[in-house]
């Protein structure tokens, strides 16, 4: 399983395009907002959590379509499913690689962008913590959609339609936690709920991904 993660990471490092594209998308998406809503600091501070979260969500979605597609087309996914590693393990490894490639760079860039959006500096720790819980959830849920749409016609349109409604709870709790922090309340309950969802998704999402991958190969 670790070998599979490393293999995916090597592939990404060699090509490099997908990961940097998602990151660039995230940065540009956030930078566009001050042009859209105007540069008043109060408004920017107010909308900063939502903007960062939605940009992160869209960036995760953008890179998601390619998650299984390459392996599916060149047949290596079939080999992986035939290998002694159970399909759930393949699913976890692919999701972990996706998160390391797209989620972690996001965590590093997000505080800088938050400063551009006039978020108070003492909230940056909370922002990184929330994103650290939210981005793996986005990868897990998105991977279910990516596995389900393997080999579908118009999968590029289909994937957001399936995945975005399922992202709503993540968005709500992450935004509520950040808002609570901004207004001086404790973000703890929201983060705990987010953590609980992450634990649940860690168990259930690989099952669904594995079932979908097997279905794609029957």
């Amino acid at each position: 399983m670790l070998r599979l993660i490393l293999r995916d990471l090597r592939l990404v490092l060699r090509q490099g395009s997908d990961a940097t594209a998602a990151l660039m998308f995230f940065v540009l998406c956030v930078v566009l907002f001050p042009f859209g809503v105007g540069p008043e600091p109060n408004i920017l501070t107010r909308i900063a959590p939502g903007v960062l979260l939605i940009a992160a969500l869209l960036a995760a979605l953008l890179s998601m379509e390619r998650l299984f597609q390459g392996d599916f087309e060149d047949g290596s996914l079939e080999l992986l499913l035939l290998s002694p590693l159970p399909a759930e393990g393949v699913a976890i490894a692919k999701v972990a690689a996706h998160w390391l490639v797209t989620g972690v760079p996001l965590l590093i860039v997000a505080p800088l962008l938050a400063l551009l959006l006039r978020m108070p500096a003492d909230q940056l720790g909370l922002l990184v913590g929330t994103l650290a819980l939210a981005t793996p959830l986005l990868s897990l849920i998105g991977a279910v959609g990516a596995a389900l749409t393997l080999g579908a016609r118009r999968s590029g349109v289909l994937l957001p339609l399936l995945v975005l409604p399922l992202y709503i709870p993540v968005l709500i709790f992450a935004a509520a936690g950040l808002d609570a922090g901004l207004s001086g309340l404790s973000p703890r309950p929201h983060l705990l709920l987010l953590g609980g969802m992450l634990c649940g998704a860690l168990v259930l999402a690989p099952l669904a991904i594995a079932a979908a991958l097997r279905a794609a190969h029957e």
Binding site: R153, P165, I172, E218
Partner: protein, 238 residues
């Protein structure tokens, strides 16, 4: 359950049920519409807009009923490879989407005169909207594959994922809503619902339910016939 697994036997039973369901639906619609539009009094707070409830509430009930039965059918299809289950799920989906759309639309039309707005980001409205998107996603996914069996399988998995998520979504938007805005005035007419309003409501609910059964039988028949067409075509191609 397994007694109905055989499509031929199912068709026999379904065809016997169909006229009764259709008839019951027609009778209930006639009685419910008469009671709802003529014989029931306007509400003392909401006036005649309360009559929208006789469409809105049954549609909301049916949207939930349809999704839960589809999720159960999806589980049956995945676990026991029940041949009818996925035909049912596929047949029921457009009906569920229709009920959900109707629920949202009439809710909007009720909200406009009563709350003064077409839409609020209330927990219930938002979760029903998400339910509508789940229906659309399922229908799009099932249709997106050249091989119908693959589409059905993917759709079943999505239905189960959605079944896990619907309670979470409901819970999360309820929580989110109470954090951001005061609870909105979501209640039926007065403190308790009067018998003069309960009867048309129940009749309309029965009408919607039997309408669903009648139409879903038609759609299942179409689905089974489509499968047969497909196997015949495959047989010819070889």
């Amino acid at each position: 359950m397994h007694r109905f697994a055989n499509p031929a036997r199912f068709l026999k039973i379904a065809n016997a049920v169909l006229p009764w369901a259709a008839g019951l639906s027609a009778v209930c619609f006639a009685a419910g519409l008469y009671l709802g539009l003529f014989a029931s009094p306007p509400d003392y707070q909401q006036g005649d807009t309360v009559r929208i409830m006789y469409i809105h509430v049954p549609a909301a009930w049916m949207s939930m009923f349809t999704y839960s039965t589809m999720a159960v059918a999806a589980a049956a299809a995945l676990v026991w490879k029940h041949p009818l289950a996925e035909v049912y799920a596929k047949a029921a989906a457009p009906l569920g989407a229709g009920f959900t759309a109707l629920c949202l639309l009439t809710g909007s039309l009720w909200g406009a005169p009563m709350w003064g707005t077409w839409w609020v980001w209330d927990a219930r409205l938002t979760s029903v909207l998400v339910l509508f998107f789940l229906y659309l996603g399922y229908m799009a996914l099932v249709d997106a594959f050249d091989d119908p069996a693959r589409g059905n399988k993917a759709g079943n998995i999505l239905l189960l994922v959605g079944a896990v998520n619907v309670p979470i979504i409901k819970f999360s938007v309820e929580w989110w809503n109470t954090l951001h805005q005061p609870a909105s005035v979501f209640r039926l007419g007065g403190p308790t619902i009067a018998a003069s309003m309960l009867w048309p409501l129940l009749l309309m609910a029965a009408a919607f339910q039997s309408y669903f059964f009648a139409v879903v039988i038609l759609r299942i028949r179409a689905g089974l016939a489509a499968r047969r067409v497909q196997t015949l075509r495959l047989g010819q191609a070889n």
